[in-house]
Amino acid sequence: MAATDPSHTTPLNSAPTQISDDARGYYTPGEPLVDPVAPTGPIGQRWTQRKFDNRLVNPANRRKLDVIIVGTGLAGGAAAATMGEAGYNVKSFCYQDSPRRAHSIAAQGGINAAKNYKEDGDSTFRLFYDTVKGGDYRSRESNVYRLAEVSADIIDQCVAQGVPFAREYGGLLDNRSFGGVQVSRTFYARGQTGQQLLIGAYQAMERQVAAGTVTEYTRHEMLEVIVVDGKARGIIARDLVTGEIETHLADVVVLATGGYGNVFFLSTNAMGSNVTAAWRAHRKGAYMANPCYTQIHPTCIPVSGDHQSKLTLMSESLRNDGRIWVPKNKEDCDKDPRDIPEEDRDYYLERIYPSFGNLVPRDIASRQAKNVCDEGRGVGPMVGDFRRGVYLDFTDAIARLGEDGIREKYDNLFDMYARITGENPYETPMRIYPAVHYVMGGLWVDYHLQSSIPGLFVTGEANFSDHGANRLGASALMQGLADGYFVLPNTIRDYLADGPFEKITEDHPAVVEARTQVEERVTKFLSINGTRSADSFHKELGHIMWEYCGMERSEDGLRKAIDMIRELKAAFWSDLKVLGTADSLNQSLEKAGRVADFIELGELMCIDALNRRESCGGHFRAESQTEDGEALRHDEEFAYVAAWEWGGEGGDPVLHKEDLIYTAIEMKQRSYK
């Protein structure tokens, strides 16, 4: 790493100037965007200084301040617990039947923290550096440094709550190396780290429910944000059991509503994971940042047919021992893989990337799998016109370590695979295929995690956050808990120090308007009375997104996708069929609202991807690659955050650019050859 100015005041790169304009005609250029609360000074002191500078709220005043937190995953659950402990009056909402079911629970691998327990050269700066580099230099350095800085506190907090992390024989915490980094900084609880961390946050939150500082509203879905005089002052939510439309007013609103990977229909997200809360906020004025940044995970169980409702991830640790291949010849694709001789197999990752082989980063492994399947060399069942799968073969590893050796390392994954596919992976190679897993894009926030609507804060995967164009393994859990336990409580107080704000009542015109919008939308869904289920539209949207806005995006493909999505939107609003009533538990109605918002988001994702004529992180543009087919970034044009403003119904979105200027790290192109 080059020596940098220790006061971190000298820019190491110049502001980008975009020359290409692929998305012309689809958007309106807007004013440049600047984070109004961006800190300055030596990077290691920025957060400490900010915590001091941010105003405090007198403990006696806290109970007079109403805080709404939507979502109960790591970011929302941790924030609700912490804000409750501080004495604020918190209302927590989730669509699930219990806060403990939020999808953070499904994270497997672990959580990073710069504890340096292994004395292997780790530090806050190294975690910061790895995260910025891993994100392909598309994140804000101040935010990422703060994330690395609070990471160690997260582990302390979780251990104190009783999170049963893996331990060594001496009773001290164990670490492992994860996601291609060279230090061991990942804390884990077997393959269920997300579950254990979430249960920790959930229990802390339930303790506050008992203490009376947090009121929880389960089976409630936020359908609108209430904005009064330019400030977020509450939400409209639907009680999913009774169908009642409820108004909840507050001094501040926090969205911790997760990611929108389900825009692809098939993803590793939960069935209920959706963009509605974020999208409704976007339509009310919150900017959506870098929506096209999507992470696609290479080791998922392939699709078995059109009935498929979701995809299941298997930890990428499998790539440590498995060898990935497809037949050299298309004719061999339906043969029993054990009958295909060695010389007829193409171990394509080992062939193309001799030094990293099967351990290349997630995006490269995913893209190459798609390429070989597109060539017609995929394996497994035909899904549509293609076989979408590649082999992950443990034959060599079993020969080396024995079946018991493999069982010891991976038995839960092998069992899961066998249960879902009905095949025994000890005998026949596994089949894997990439799947959408995480989104780096999300609502734009400043250094205080406040969106472009004052009083609306966004945490966790729901914000565009700290991961740039690509997220490293074991960093999602870190960010969710950093935001919830340590960042938000210290930034929101600066906003709340001006409160309590003027009381508003349910008959305020802005409240009535928000409520009316929600009621009219519900009525509309039930009255279209067409022929197709919301699910069928969702599937169709997913096909478009996966094909044209998935692992590889091209100018022509994205233009085509935008047209197709616009047609789909028209069809949705004229041919949707939702049975049942508004005043009952109606899962079809819930689904319809979510799909309606996914369709609009899908269009914006394609426009964002079309505009960004470069390849970075999870975004690969066919027009921007090296002669060897590797991703090629264009920092001089695109080192900026693309923050999109809602352009109104039928209008074009407005693009605001926030330049990314580094003072502590110099940008570099990555190479895995």
Binding site: P164, G170, A204, H307, Q308, L585
Partner: protein, 247 residues
């Protein structure tokens, strides 16, 4: 495969429900049980009939949202969650009866959807360690013996689905409660509140209308995470100690 489904239909919490019969053809053995119900719902929607309401979310066996009594067994014939049960566990021509969790403390909301908020209230009564954000000591300042930490982890894998209650002839939530008491009781951080925790949780459990444990063991047999029966012994032991201490 072709199937006959007997499914519990109940429009809301107050109206009486009944089993309705549906025919389903061309089901693939690669489908999960819930995907089979998705197919049924698409069919019902097309025919203008209200789809069957059922709970599911992660569909990878970890969130604990899905439920269902399948041919009288909680989560069906395999040791897993309903979302991870696949149709290859059934045969062409089978008749499958699908009902909601059966327990007074889990009232039916609609069709196969039940209200399990009693579990949240049991946790609220004491299923936590009091450690405000920011108050935690350095993580390695308190070592935890590895075997105890592993046992804590093993029982902390409970997903709170409620199969234990649904399977228990008494409708007891002792396995759920015992898992939490054991998880926190095995760790050094859980000691200060160990005996108040058990008393408070048991009181809440009883107030919610869950039944008592008579050591039948159906709970552990139905548990998709194979939580062992001895967590209930731990629960009783801690409760006895607490009572001796006059708590």
């Amino acid at each position: 495969m072709d199937l006959t489904l007997n499914i519990w239909r109940q429009p809301d919490a107050v109206t009486h429900g009944a089993l309705h019969t549906y025919q389903l053809a061309g089901i693939s053995e690669d489908m999960s049980f819930l995907e089979m119900l998705d197919v049924l719902n698409e069919q019902l929607n097309a025919a203008g009939e209200d789809p069957v309401a059922f709970d599911s979310d992660c569909r990878e066996g970890i969130c604990g949202t899905c439920s269902l009594m399948i041919n009288g067994q909680a989560h069906g014939p395999e040791v897993t969650t309903t979302c991870q049960l696949h149709m290859r566990s059934f045969k062409d021509g089978d008749t499958i009866t699908v009902e909601p969790w059966r327990a007074d403390a889990f009232p039916v909301l609609k069709d196969l959807v039940t209200d399990r908020s009693a579990f949240d209230r049991i946790i609220q009564s004491g299923g936590y360690i009091s450690a405000n954000t920011g108050s935690a000591p350095e993580a390695n300042s308190v070592p935890a013996p590895r075997d105890k930490a592993m046992r804590a982890f093993n029982v902390a894998t409970c997903i709170g689905c409620g199969a234990c209650v649904a399977a228990c002839p008494n409708g007891s939530a002792s396995l759920f409660m015992g898992a939490k008491i054991t998880h926190l009781g095995e760790l050094p951080q859980g000691q200060p509140e160990r005996y108040t925790r058990v008393v408070d949780m048991v009181a809440q459990h009883d107030a919610e209308g869950f039944g008592g444990c008579t050591n039948i063991g159906e709970c552990t047999a139905a548990c998709p995470k194979e939580i062992p029966l001895d967590v209930i012994s731990q629960l009783n032991k801690d409760l006895r100690t607490a009572m001796k201490q006059g708590r």
